[in-house]
Symmetry: C2
Amino acid sequence: MLTYSEENYLKTIFHLSLGQQQGISTNAIAAKIETKASSVTDMIKKLNEKKLIKYQKYQGVTLTAEGLLAAKMIVRKHRLWEVFLVDKLGFSWDEVHDVAEELEHIKSEKLINKLDAFLEYPTQDPHGDPIPNAKGEIKQVDKKLLSEVETNKIVICVGVKDSSSEFLQYLDKQKISLGSKIEITDIEPFDQSYTVKIDNHNITITKKIASNLFVKEQ
Amino acid sequence: MLTYSEENYLKTIFHLSLGQQQGISTNAIAAKIETKASSVTDMIKKLNEKKLIKYQKYQGVTLTAEGLLAAKMIVRKHRLWEVFLVDKLGFSWDEVHDVAEELEHIKSEKLINKLDAFLEYPTQDPHGDPIPNAKGEIKQVDKKLLSEVETNKIVICVGVKDSSSEFLQYLDKQKISLGSKIEITDIEPFDQSYTVKIDNHNITITKKIASNLFVKEQ
DNA sequence: ATTAAAATTTAGGCAAAGCTAAAAATATAT
DNA sequence: ATATATTTTTAGCTTTGCCTAAATTTTAAT
Ligand SMILES: [Mn+2]
Ligand SMILES: [Mn+2]
Ligand SMILES: [Mn+2]
Ligand SMILES: [Mn+2]
């Protein structure tokens, strides 16, 4: 049985491992989890002992098959709870993360599978992130950043890279949501600002915004 | 902010205090929480320090107003989650307690109030226990034990005193549920066994069963 | 009123998970 | 290649919540 803290470490290593070849560094984990490197070393030893990660002193860590599955199950729970909070309880997408951080640690496979059914097996969470199924399989949809899309091409917003409430609230204010139709009409060479058409209104956004919106081509 | 453990102690003291004048003893708490008396003494000191309970060495403890409200909020969460599990996720009434023991510690007032609304403000949990409202008010319905009812009086089952899964599964087997119409047709003097009519079938139950069913007179 | 039993508290310790400060290993720059 | 900087680990300490064993207080029995 994993502790609350062990689960958070596994989840963090999982997130840091996405699109990453090498092992994850002690400092990277410490930064993400907002703790000290020495605390990370302690926990790393414990997870290694439990064969959830592979660890060689000074070489960083990688998840074992068992650790990977455990991490995916936590992510699955986190994202399913986020869907529940938004779809059933009427939370907005910028309010759900912190509560889901707690709910993801509730230990009941039956609960999470019944919740999954109740929500009708969603494949994405409110931020467009994929929800692993009960076996841990993740259906990857191909998406790219808006900043990588050429001008005058109509794309659909399907996710956010940064899901901080600050960014999400900015998107609300600009009436950008998952499903919005987006077209870059112009990029200003001087400051790299983007003029974009969102559904039916035109606005200007910075490159930073464009680099945090996932879109798919139709 | 209360810890998981502090919350469990407050809840336990609350349950033990129902229909009780004196302070709650260290041993009573230890038994309920399945821990050692010395551990209880430790925690009691901490809760006393935080002014959640009143404590005099060797004299037992009582909840302060603040402690009482905190305890009621935990009970509220526990019971609302039980309703959710049964009504929305399709759990049976004997499966929900352990999961609710975890869910009751999720810290979000917004969550619990939205859940309350989603469930349409239930006043009883799946075991017939009252659910405190957001202010901590508990609507007491008057009920008595089946063992205290006279023969040939038709009553309605409204709750269970013992809500262990063993007892609940026994009730399922006997087709006794909340809302069942019950009439004691006879009590055997020799072994105090009860012949009862449940809705439309007649069965025999022991006095122990009759002493664990709450009923209301119509 | 003593004495025995039961309940409660104290003393001392342990494991988990964190911390700071110092030592050791690795990476980088000259 | 060597010196410096950065990263990582180790050592030792803290808090929380639990434990056992011993001491103390209260209660019950003679
Ligand atoms: Mn989240
Ligand atoms: Mn999310
Ligand atoms: Mn319960
Ligand atoms: Mn209940």
